[in-house]
Amino acid sequence: MSQTANVHPHTESVSGMLERFVRANRWLLAATGALMLTALGMAFLYAPREQVMGEIQRIFYFHVASAWLAMMAFLVVFVGSLLYLWKGDRRFDRWAAASAEIGVLFTTIVLVTGPLWARPVWNTWWTWDARLTSSLVLWIMYIAYLVLRGALPESRKKYQFSAVYGLVAFVDVPIVFFSIRWWRSMHPVVITGKGMNLEPEMIHTLALSCAAFTLLYFLLLRLRLMVERLRDEVQSLQRTLLELE
């Protein structure tokens, strides 16, 4: 066996990796696609038209599901960071990095669809309401996490620093969730102490949208983790080359 093969035995092409990814995740892909299409259909055809807000209220199903996905993603950042600090295994840091990017993406969706909903209902795009402000702060905090990760050179120090930041940033997640209970807010409260203040058809549509977005999260996470692993492999080969030169 050659020296190269000894140092880096994994030589599968990216196309091969993607084919293997599709084969390994075919059921997850099919279920995500089917649930997304069903949720979209239910949001427009099954859920009733809200009497006060009208048609625009239908944005609610994917707006809340995006927020749900983002919270789940940030929880994975928190758990990954905690496990990295505890075990020191780079795998957990990769989970945190991949999940933070997905969380930021879906928080962006929340922050764009929210004002699109607010404009016809509140007659303003934005207001410095507790829920809106804490969500914006959350988005900025995780963007800063990604910027910091990108700026620091690959080292154990970077992973440790990112993990500590990942733990601290998570403090804002419960603040976002409870902000509409702790402070006076214009934002609608979906889950109250007495349950959900919605028609049964609306609850079904919301539940299915959240289920579809949960599957989508796992699919995106697996794809994003492939990027992280490949990047590690590139960096490892670059180090080997430097040592040889």
Partner: protein
């Protein structure tokens, strides 16, 4: 259809599909880098 509703759902779908396309592109870019590095390593390892 309500213009805000259309804009909202379009944005969501464009962002999700755009992100998948971005990851796909990133994977191929890293794959090319990896192939180049492997070639250079093979050359170095050649006696």
């Amino acid at each position: 259809m309500n213009i805000y509703l259309f804009a909202g759902y379009s944005f969501i779908l464009v962002l999700i599909f755009g992100y998948v396309a971005f990851l796909h592109g990133k994977l191929h870019k890293l794959g090319r880098e990896l192939d180049e590095l492997r070639d250079r390593l093979r050359e170095k390892a050649r006696p």
